[in-house]
């Protein structure tokens, strides 16, 4: 995998995804190894994302790498009107790998064409956030023992939620059953249903999930944002339907785990936090192991 970039989850085959998850598992057991010693990683955050940036920087630091970059484009040359092309051209000669987060959709693919070093997409607008998807997959596999034959509930904003879209595209490699629970206005776009149809996978759409929750292996919660609704009254009607509470978890499967890409607002009630089925904070920690594995894979470093 020389000078290979990770821009979209589709860039990696099922086998390559599994290799990264296996490597992430090794980092979890043995977190410190100076594999990135002598390497410089650029972290270019053209829009602030504290969680993702800290996770990457923690992964780089744990591997002994050095970091150059910026956390907010308002303090960089971008405010002077520099194009993305020029920024990437310059950074390309300073770093061994570039991590980029940028508000424009497709910016990471474009950066990967300009750069000679590998590029990792840490989020390009509403398009892709593949390292989130890999850490989600890692969390699913770790809690369920396998990725095969799971029943996944995806809840909330299924129309605009990029984490949902990427995770379902990736989970389509395995024999997954999907239950999509969303308000009418935020239903999953047809292109993803067509993809599942062509993969021969079963999926069901619902407006509510309190009556079917006992079937779930994974509940993947996302935020339902008020600004997504054209009619504020519609938001008021549905806003409490997509909130998970501890009382709903009584008759659920023992292996059920609740995932959320974070940050949450009110869609998971704090009374769920102490339930052993709540997994979203461990999920965030898994991001560090997964990102360590991604960096080492793209730089072709073995241990």
């Amino acid at each position: 995998m020389k000078n290979r970039s990770l821009v979209s989850i589709d860039d990696f085959s099922k086998e390559e995804i599994l290799r990264i998850l296996d490597l992430a598992g090794k980092f979890e057991i043995q977190p410190v190894g100076k594999l990135l010693e002598g390497k410089v990683i650029a972290t270019l955050f053209f829009e602030p994302s504290t969680r993702t940036r800290l996770s990457f920087e923690s992964a780089i630091n744990r591997l002994g790498g050095k970091i150059v970059g910026f956390a907010d484009s308002s303090i960089s040359s971008v405010t002077k009107g520099e194009t993305l092309f020029d920024t990437i051209k310059m950074v390309d000669s300073y770093a061994d790998l570039i991590v980029i987060r940028h508000p424009f959709e497709g910016s990471a693919r474009y950066a990967s064409e300009i750069a000679t070093v590998p590029v990792v997409n840490a989020g390009d607008g509403a398009n892709q956030h593949p390292t989130q998807t890999l850490l989600d997959l890692y969390s699913v596999r770790k809690t369920q023992g396998s990725l095969d034959n799971l029943n996944i509930f995806m809840v909330g904003d299924l129309k605009y939620g990029r984490t949902v879209h990427s995770l379902l595209m990736a989970m389509a490699h395995w024999n997954t059953t999907f239950n999509f629970i969303s308000p009418e206005e935020l239903r999953l776009p047809d292109e993803f249903k067509l993809h599942l149809d062509s993969a021969g996978l079963k999926y069901y759409e619902h407006l509510d999930f309190s009556d079917i929750i006992s079937r779930a292996d994974i509940i993947y919660m996302t935020r339902v944002q008020k600004e997504r609704f054209s009619d504020p009254i519609e938001y008021e009607k549905v806003k409490n339907v997509y909130v998970l509470r501890n009382s709903m978890l009584h008759n659920t499967k023992p292996n059920l785990r609740i995932l959320h890409p974070l940050p949450r607002v009110n869609e998971i009630h704090p009374d769920v936090d102490n339930n052993p089925k709540a997994y979203y904070f461990q999920q965030a920690l898994n991001g560090v192991f997964t990102r360590q594995a991604i960096l080492c894979t793209l730089l072709d470093l073995n241990f």
Binding site: S8, T83, L84, F85, P103, F104, E105, G106, S107, R109, Y110, D124, G125, A126, N127, Q128, E191
Partner: protein
């Protein structure tokens, strides 16, 4: 100029070159632009709003001394999918070719996503053609799909 007594040639015949026929009248200038005909020195004649049973109103372009590669000519498929090419040598049609929608489209179409990098920085558009019958293009960058009804030629 009369031919066979009845048919009238609206634009004059060429000795050597290419005749692009069955171009929808509304797409004439887009075809000229896509093929860069407005920047070459060859003699070009064209007619538009000509009667066509198939298209209603068609346009025809005759380019003297110029022959096209398939890759070049397929670029007009988005705006003139029915176009036919007559390759002329010594006033005779020596070959007829049809236009095929290519698998990839570069620098012709505009991505319909206003948040796409190609609409916000100076980036050449690139698409994968995911449907050729009802044209659907997947942007290489933002991965959004631009369908025929939203298609704009740059």
């Amino acid at each position: 100029m009369m031919k066979g007594g009845k048919q009238q040639l609206v634009v004059s015949a060429i000795e050597n070159g290419t005749v692009i026929d069955h171009v929808p009248a509304k797409s004439l200038f887009k075809v000229i632009q896509i093929l860069g005909l407005d920047h070459i020195d060859n003699q070009i004649t064209f007619g538009t709003n000509l009667e066509s049973k198939k298209l209603g109103q068609k346009a025809i372009i005759k380019i003297s001394g110029r022959f096209f590669e398939d890759n070049d000519i397929n670029r007009i498929a988005l705006v003139a999918p029915e176009a036919k090419l007559n390759i002329i040598k010594d006033y005779a049609v020596v070959e007829k070719r049809v236009v095929r929608v290519p698998d990839h489209i570069t620098a012709i179409a505009k991505c319909m996503n206003p948040k796409c990098i190609t609409n916000l920085e100076n980036v050449t558009t690139r698409f994968l053609v995911i449907s050729k019958k009802n044209i659907a293009l997947k942007c290489r960058y933002c991965e959004k799909i631009t369908s025929e009804e939203n298609l704009k030629i740059i």
